[in-house]
């Protein structure tokens, strides 16, 4: 019984809708007090409801789920940032959390000072930080900038330093949330290695990520949260597989019942989706993306030309994809199927986009749906530098190479 690390029983967290709004004003409170009598109780949602599980010491557990499924709420409760509304959790051992690394960095302080500050905030003693100081600096690879204020660091350096501090906390239980989304590939590998070491040292890890490859690499078991409840749990393989199926379905738009379309209807778009080709998650800037169109049609479907026009939400053209552009023939298609287009490195900057779909068969318009779907492109690391262009400079990222010519 002593080898239990975490037990959670019937854990629930209720939020009042609107409670997370930026801030209230006193006026609202006074108005609410006046109206209280004639108004029904505020609407609430359960971000987490009836979640129970037990994690043994040394287990590495992945937590997966859509945005808003309650993953972060769960970690917040376990790291005591917020209190549950019902249920209970018991934790044996020191908890270290990597809920977005780098919190508590002060931009005006130097790297050296921030190591102490951040370490203390994460729960380390001063003597402990001093002892591990050199190791932390070496891990972060920021030796020469130790006495530079952190505000002059690149975001990549900041992340490295922050992760280095957190990674040396050596807690019995480590909560990790989405840290691997940042930093360059080499550093990500190092982080995963460090987490592997931590796991081998017999420590317990709860790992929240959208990176299914990392989850499958690191975790033996996984836990899928959906709308605040446990959708599946158990061995990592099957859970991830089931989750991925659900992701593909929800990142897509059903078009079958759209009436506002033109064309003779020999081919009709049924469904459109954009996903990250590797993970099946929503697409991110700089990652491979797959745009897929499910269709039904009346054969013969010869010499099909498909165009995907992508616009910003403001209606400016952002990108145009067509099999005609690249000289790829789509001929003799089956009566129903999926046409897909893979973009090796999605150049669209993070944001929301709208899609026009246009298809001709032998030069005759078959189907045309404007604003067929809207999709989001998530933050990504297009340049492997952790940086993206500032807002206001177009909608796409462009690969570039810099040299000094003498």
């Amino acid at each position: 019984m002593t080898d239990t690390a975490i037990t959670v029983e019937g854990l629930g967290k209720r939020y009042q809708i609107g409670q997370r709004e930026p801030y209230g004003a006193l006026r609202d409170m006074l108005m609410d007090a006046l109206r209280a009598k004639c108004r029904p109780a505020a609407e609430t949602i359960w971000a987490l409801k009836g979640v129970s599980f037990e994690i043994k010491q040394g287990e590495v557990v992945g937590i997966i789920g859509h945005n808003g499924a309650g993953k972060s709420t769960l970690l917040k409760i376990l790291s005591r940032v917020t209190k549950p509304t019902e249920g209970k959790a018991d934790i044996w051992g020191r908890v270290g959390s990597l809920l977005e690394v780098g919190t508590g960095f002060h931009p005006e302080l130097t790297g050296r000072e921030n190591i102490y500050l951040n370490g203390a905030i994460l729960g380390m003693r001063k003597a402990e930080i001093a002892r591990k100081f050199d190791e932390i600096v070496a891990f972060a690879e920021t030796e020469q900038f130790l006495d530079t204020p952190v505000k002059h660091y690149s975001s990549g350096m900041r992340v490295r330093l922050a992760f280095a501090v957190a990674a040396h906390l050596e807690p019995e239980i480590l909560l990790v949330d989405e840290v691997l989304a940042v930093g360059d590939a080499a550093f990500q590998k190092k982080c995963l290695g460090k987490m592997g070491d931590v796991a081998k040292a017999g420590r317990t890890i709860l790992f929240v990520s959208h990176n299914m490859a990392a989850i499958q690499n690191l975790c033996a078991s996984a836990f899928w949260l959906d709308h605040g409840t446990t959708a599946a749990s158990g061995k990592v393989g099957p859970v991830v597989e089931r989750y991925l199926k659900s992701v593909t379905a929800s990142a897509s738009t059903f078009l079958g019942d759209r009436k506002d379309r033109r064309g003779d209807g020999r081919l009709r778009f049924e469904e459109f989706s954009v996903t990250n080709s590797q993970t099946g998650d929503p697409a991110t800037c700089g990652s491979p993306a797959t745009l897929a169109i499910r269709y039904v049609g009346n054969p013969p479907l010869r010499n099909v030309q498909l165009s995907i026009g992508i616009f910003t939400v403001l209606g400016e053209g952002a990108m145009y994809l067509s099999n005609d552009l690249v000289g790829k023939q789509l001929d003799n298609l089956p009566a129903a199927g999926v046409m897909s287009c893979r973009v090796e490195k999605l150049p669209l900057l993070p944001g929301r986009y709208s899609v026009n779909l246009y298809c001709t068969i032998n030069g005759v318009l078959a189907d045309w749906v404007t604003d067929a779907a809207r999709f989001d492109v998530g933050d990504g690391d297009f340049f492997h530098s952790g940086k993206l262009p500032p807002p206001g400079y177009g909608t796409v990222a462009v690969s570039q190479d810099w040299n000094v010519v003498l």
Partner: protein, 278 residues
């Protein structure tokens, strides 16, 4: 070896009255010191005059009040040269008002940390208030210089000065606990503060003596905790002729205790939903 972990950390919904976990606060003392150190370090970063501001602010205020109130309006100062009289009050007042202003918004300012990492939240406003002590110490040097210049020697009562400083800290902490917790939910605090400190300054014998207030009113006047604190502080340093109004100071000390205790309790109650509201 693995059996050294006897008790788990228990996470339960909060019910009933807030209690204060003194043991935990003690365990986090190092973090408090580091937060104080951070606040001191960044205080005058990227300023031209740096720590000189610690003296310039009370000095500037003293000069203005000396000219308008001391010279033009002939406000009495209990027989003490007006500049020393005003500076002794402003010294403590600036510590107080600055602590209040910065600590009251400290939770919101540190939002990023608070929503990500757990530690006792009381440390956040506390560190800001305590960090102000360094400024106070710097400004205090000028106080000594002024006393020497005007030939005012300290008497035994100077030993009580730290006590009154402690009381000023207690008021600053207590009020900051109230306001910072309130600020999380209602950002009205930041708009109220400049106004509040202004009014409070004139409701406190900082730039005028409490002897201007009718005698019968003084115990009531003492309900403003800063009345007793400023009056007591000045008396302990300068030994104002005639003993201070102990009834008034006594009333103030009681209000200080109430404000402080109430602040801690209210803060702890609000702390439960802090991360959700901020």
């Amino acid at each position: 070896m693995e059996n050294q972990r006897v008790l788990p950390t228990r996470i339960r919904p909060d019910r009933g009255l807030a209690h204060i976990d003194w043991r935990e606060l003690w365990e986090y003392r190092e973090l408090l010191f580091i937060l104080i150190w951070r606040d001191i370090k960044v205080r005058y970063k990227q300023t031209l005059l740096g720590a000189a501001w610690a003296i310039l602010q009370p000095l500037g205020a003293m000069l203005v009040f000396t000219f308008f109130l001391g010279k033009l309006a002939h406000v009495p100062s209990d027989g003490i040269p007006y500049p020393v009289f005003a500076y002794s009050g402003l010294l403590l007042w600036q510590f107080f008002s600055r602590a209040l202003t910065e600590a009251s918004t400290s939770l919101v300012v540190n939002e990023r940390v608070i929503t990500k990492v757990y530690f006792p939240r009381l440390l956040v406003p506390s560190s800001v208030v305590l960090a102000g002590l360094l400024d106070f110490a710097i400004a205090f040097v000028l106080m000594l210089a002024l006393m020497a210049f005007y030939g005012i020697g300290a008497s035994w009562s100077v030993l009580l000065a730290p006590l009154f400083l402690l009381l000023a800290m207690a008021v600053a902490l207590g009020v900051s606990f109230w306001l910072s917790a309130f600020d999380v939910k209602y950002r009205d605090v930041r708009y109220t503060l400049p106004f509040l400190t202004q009014i409070w300054l004139f409701a406190t014998p900082v730039v005028y003596p409490s002897s201007l207030v009718p005698a019968w009113l003084r115990p009531w006047y003492g309900l403003n905790p800063m009345v007793g604190v400023v009056e007591g502080f000045r008396w302990s340093l300068l030994g104002v002729p005639g003993s201070p109004n102990f009834a008034m100071i006594g009333v103030s000390i009681i209000t200080v205790a109430l404000v402080f205790a109430g602040g801690v309790i209210y803060f702890r109650m609000m702390e439960r939903s802090l991360a959700d509201l901020i």
